[in-house]
Symmetry: C2
Subunit: 423 residues, 2 copies
């Protein structure tokens, strides 16, 4: 079937975007992270604005219920930045929560009922020990048919990886290329959880061992490090530690307004011209594990709405919760043909200076993956890149069109947005 | 401040509504309950419809993460009724989740991006032991400033009750009147968790004691029963067991379409002409516990949008999670002046045959309170009543206008809708 997805009947612009530092912050509550993101957003609005003008707030969050023991998080966040009594709505679609929240904001403005909408995303994951985080993430699978069989998220994506490798001949090293690239990008992103390249990481580890009088690792190349079962242990074949995104605390925020008032906020708004969302069955029911069907539906809908093609898109932020996910995503969004994404990554096409840069922010892999905040984090990067404000990681040249691709869990949800900068 | 809340720019109609039986169903999963509600909805659509025509689904759910261990519930529900790959979005605002989901559906249709929207609500609470249910509900309060002080939901509403009694001179018996009325209504609702009056309940208890050879209770009147510390124990003064809504498994579903196509589904649609939502600070920060500020904001916005007054409304379903909540609600929605709701209840004004019937369904108190499904459950009752399909509990005469009032937690969220039947 084709998803019915009519054009947005009213232009929508991003006029501000911010994020907290991503990382592990045991001393901070979710509301502290959100305040940090919101302040960053406020500072990003070129002409300033009166927060009183915000009319409604959508908050993307996966499971603060389980992570922090605080549900009903939307009014808590609204109160934390002085927005009560405005309507406050939490949106949950697993790791796609804030991408879907952005989409609800677009719909709210399109409705004509609202002109100025705040979108937030937040997740506070490091309150729990790692095994409990894994259990919590697993609730995003199918708890009747998948989790009792022993699946966790590394396992789900490992299954996709082996299916992909089997069909297309990719190797574990092809996956590692994605990690190397994303850490190179993350090293240039001050807000990233891991703002360090893998070679720098190796040197730090060596220096630390030397300082402590321990045996100094003998890695000579990045590949030595990535194949070291101690430094980069196998999590679920073929995925090693550096194929997996980290456990992250973080928050993100975007200010969305109707096009016709965007110039009150900035002379350089970023317009959203395409928005697609789709759902899918749990993974155990799907015939093909080498692609995420919801991502193909959502991409198609977004391209159709925007009236553009994958060839027109200059950069993309895609959902690289695992390295294999980025490769599959690069095919699902139409950048590359099925089965060719891994070789394009190896050829450097998706590097910052390549033809189709992907995850210049460092991606979920290096920037970090506070699940409910990650989708909107992609939008924050697009905002910076399209406005030429991405600092050392800035992609060269104009970026007239960009795309974000945000997946929930194993792909039961995907939401894709297309952004335009009009010169 | 006044909440900005522009008119819905496009007419919206309910053309079908259904619910599962409410109760405790240890053998059913949340998806089973949802399928039951959806089938009931399908049967309610007068002219039938093709489920393939549904374009997007919103699912209200409080915390299936904690209750059932299944998050990312929206695509699971979509899949359970064959709706993938349509977008599936979970909305969470504690006990107002499905009322807010309904509002998102209205916004989606108003946007012009969608014409046919399915709204669902579901909660599966009885998987956990009662104390864990209480803990789970408590996550809807403020976990930094309220829950560590020992508050649970009976405690929150007990604080509202004592504040109200102190200011206005109401008594615990005034609260009990609400329970008596709502059980009378629930006794006439086959889908209610407790479809039994309190006098019938007493007789059953007496018969059971006699059958078992135990001492037969000596209650002669309802009041004897309600004052019996054994039969109706104190939970948190002044709230006794029968002042509290039960722990409930249940699901609800509503089919929402653009006005201009409503007659393809039915000749008797119910139009939604007003929709208001507001947020508030956690309870510990509020100055006045005898009213819920978000309910006043949301009501005002809904009335203004609809262009009607409380005097115009024939019936209402309000959020009686506790008896005191119904009394405060009857004032917050403008049916009665502050401090008079309890005497109006005593006078029978809110009874089924009164001037202002409230909770003809039995309310959360007797119908049951599957928290994320309850808001939409109110809409199901309004649908039945306005179409004259409420059976033995049918309110006499025409019902041109009706209202629902759905509260999240202690009132950090409230959402109010106004419904119209055009003859």
């Amino acid at each position: 079937m084709t998803l019915r997805n009519r054009p947005i009947p009213r232009g929508v612009s991003i006029v501000g975007a911010g994020m907290s530092k991503f990382g592990a912050f045991p001393e901070k509550a979710s509301r502290d992270l959100f305040i940090e993101a919101y302040k960053d957003l406020v500072n990003s609005v070129d002409k300033g604005f009166d927060p009183e003008d915000i009319e409604i707030i959508y908050v993307g969050n996966f499971s603060n219920d389980l992570f922090e023991g605080q549900s009903h998080i939307a009014p808590i966040m609204a109160d934390s930045i002085g927005l009560v009594p405005r309507p406050a709505v939490r949106i949950e679609d697993a790791c796609a929560s804030s991408g879907v929240a952005l989409r609800q904001g677009i719909i709210a403005i399109a409705s004509g009922m609202y002109d100025i909408v705040l979108i937030g995303g937040v997740e506070k994951m490091n309150n729990l020990p790692t095994s409990k985080v894994t259990d919590t993430l697993a609730t995003g699978g199918d708890i009747l048919y998948e989790i009792p069989a022993g699946f966790t998220f590394p396992g789900f994506y490992a299954a996709m990886a082996t299916a992909y490798m089997h069909r297309y001949g990719a190797t574990p090293e092809d996956l590692m290329n994605v990690a190397i690239k994303n850490h190179e990008n993350g090293a240039l992103n001050p807000k990233a959880q891991f703002n360090v390249t893998i070679p720098d990481w190796m040197e730090k580890r060596k220096a630390s061992a030397k300082r402590k009088g321990k045996p100094v690792p003998t890695w000579e190349t990045t590949w030595d490090f990535l194949h070291d079962d101690h430094a980069n242990p196998m999590i679920a074949y073929p995925l090693r530690l550096f194929d997996c995104s980290p456990i992250t605390d973080g928050a993100t925020a975007v200010l969305l307004v109707a096009d016709e008032i965007a110039n009150q906020f900035t002379d350089s708004p970023i317009h959203i011209i395409g928005s697609g969302q789709a759902s899918d069955m749990p993974m155990h029911d799907r015939e093909d594990l080498t692609t995420i069907g919801a991502a193909r539906y959502a991409s198609h809908a977004a391209y159709q709405m925007a009236g553009v093609t994958p060839q027109d898109i200059r950069i993309a932020e895609v959902h690289d919760c695992f390295t294999i996910a980025e490769i599959i995503a690069s095919e699902d969004i139409g950048f590359f043909d099925p089965g060719t994404g891994y070789s394009k990554a190896a050829e450097g096409v998706t590097a910052r200076i390549g033809d189709k840069p992907i995850n210049t922010s460092g991606g979920l892999k290096a920037k970090g993956h506070p699940v409910g905040a990650s989708g909107l984090g992609q939008t924050v990067e697009i905002w910076k890149q399209m406005r030429g404000e991405a600092g050392k990681r800035q992609v060269p040249g104009d970026i007239p069109l960009a795309l974000t691709h945000n997946v929930g869990a194993t792909g039961q949800t995907c939401v894709v947005h297309i952004y335009e900068r009009r010169s």
